[in-house]
């Protein structure tokens, strides 16, 4: 028992890290569910990298990293929105270049700092063990805002995830709600960067939600599973980090990815053991995403 609980009862910094990690896991479960449903993993990655130059500039100027991350996220969102509108056919290429460009800019700015390697490591991989009370308050606010956005936007978000045309013909603006969804992802990225870092935040955003998608029968159960997987990953990751003296953020994300891998293997084995049971003699037909750009 001591092995599992003592590290947290004996060390305040680890308790703070656990609370911060769980707050991030819950925020990521909400935003990540829609990222997975809508297939926005790549855009999420772009946003995560886009915040780097913002954070780097903020640290160089002695301003809060959160403020820099927010500015970086807004710039990146504008860029993503612009390239997806202008370069519909080559959106992946344009977004890819945009985020690599932002990453490079971030490294350039950081290299001006005296503590270059330390700063860069902190931004890329997080500094979970240095979470303060103020950080926890900010993460709680982010969770509340992301939760509120997801609750209000749940219908258009779901329609957008199924088919953009369906969202439009149901009276919801594709552009507005797509951007609201991006904002929600951006808030999550900004709030999570301190915990797991900009390089690993995508893992927390995607892995628990993707695990949920494998088992869930509804959006709410997908979100619940994502929250449980994220929380467990945080706890297990911190415990392993403490006992084996390895990087906390990376261990948490690795644990989350392992949860997904195990779940994927389990569902594949289960699928191969059960026969398909389509009773109706109708012809399955091709299904593809119908994207209507307005």
């Amino acid at each position: 028992m001591n092995y599992f609980v003592d590290p947290f009862t004996n060390n305040e910094f680890l308790r703070f890290a656990l609370i911060g990690g769980i707050l991030v896991a819950l925020t990521c479960a909400i935003a990540g569910t829609f990222v997975v449903l809508r297939g926005l993993a790549f855009v999420g990655d772009a946003l995560a990298h886009g915040v780097l130059p913002g954070i780097a500039t903020a640290l160089l100027l002695g301003v809060s990293g959160i403020v820099g991350a927010a500015v970086g996220a807004v710039v990146m969102m504008g860029g993503v929105s612009l390239v997806t509108r202008r370069f519909r056919l080559s959106g992946d290429t344009a977004i890819g270049l945009l985020f690599v460009g932002m990453l490079a800019l971030g490294v350039i700015i950081t290299s001006r700092s005296d503590a270059f390697v330390g700063d860069l490591t902190r931004i890329l991989f997080g500094e979970l063990l240095g979470v303060s009370g103020t950080d926890l308050l900010m993460q709680l606010c982010a969770l509340a805002i992301v939760g509120a956005i997801a609750f209000v936007g749940r219908r258009p978000f779901l329609l957008l995830s199924v088919d953009e045309g369906l969202a439009r013909t149901s009276g919801f603006s594709i552009r507005i709600f797509h951007n609201v969804m991006l904002t929600m992802v951006a808030i999550t990225v900004v709030a999570s960067f301190q915990t797991v870092g900009t390089l690993l935040v995508l893992g927390m955003l995607i892995a628990p939600a993707a695990t949920g998608a494998l088992f869930a029968r509804s959006i709410s159960s997908m979100m619940t599973i994502a929250a449980i997987v994220g929380t467990l990953s945080t706890y297990i990751g911190l415990l392993l980090s403490y006992h084996f003296d390895v990087a906390a953020g990376a261990t948490i994300v690795f644990t989350a990815v392992m949860f997904f891998a195990l779940a994927a293997v389990f569902t594949e084995v289960r699928k191969s053991l059960t026969k398909p049971s389509n009773s109706e003699h109708e012809h399955p037909h091709a299904h593809g995403h119908v994207h209507v750009h307005i």
Binding site: V152, S161, G165, T169, S170, P284, H285, H287
Partner: protein
Amino acid sequence: MATTIISADHLCVGYGKKPVIEGVTLALQPGELLVLIGTNGSGKSTLLKTLAGLIHPVHGELHVLDHHAGQLPTRVAYLPQHPVSSHTLPLQVRDVVAMGRYAHLGLFKRATKDDQIIVEDSMRRAGIDEQASKPIRDLSGGQQQRTHLAQVLARQAEVLLLDEPTAGLDINGRKLVASLVAAERARGVTVVMATHELLDAEHATSVMLLAQRVVAVGPPDVALRDEFLRECFGFTQPH
């Protein structure tokens, strides 16, 4: 004088500024069924998407229920061709059908008992009620098509725009679509339906033959003459 539900005057539809069909003129009354017939790429879906407000007309006049297309989501329902199966999404049949009510509920309204009754009734009418609690990803293509039909019915619209609703359905499914369309028309709903099948035009008020232009338009016995069919398909259908 009857109200015109869909009116189009010298309408040109297409993508951006590139026209696909020009010179479409329509005046559909309540309860009428217009069947659009043509091969793949003939412009059927482009015209339906324009009526649904998903793409803007290139030029010309178009009014649906006296408004510009796409402005009345609660009164117009659209079934896209090969609707996305949602097979990767963790959604049950009931959830997918309930999305048909979202236009009425908007962002903030709570689904009421009436909404639930409409969803259940729509599933029953589309013959998918026994699968209500099944994940949609576990269903066959035909069952998924029935689910999407139920979603369109749940909108309780005054105009139905159906793009190949019989695609992937067996003979019973085709009969079901015919009876659903007949029932909707009986309550005054105007239906525009795109299809490859001449049989689907049997009970139409009017038929429009398309081949990247309007080949013929009129009652079935006029529009489906051999000379027009030959022009549209390149051969005469053996019906």
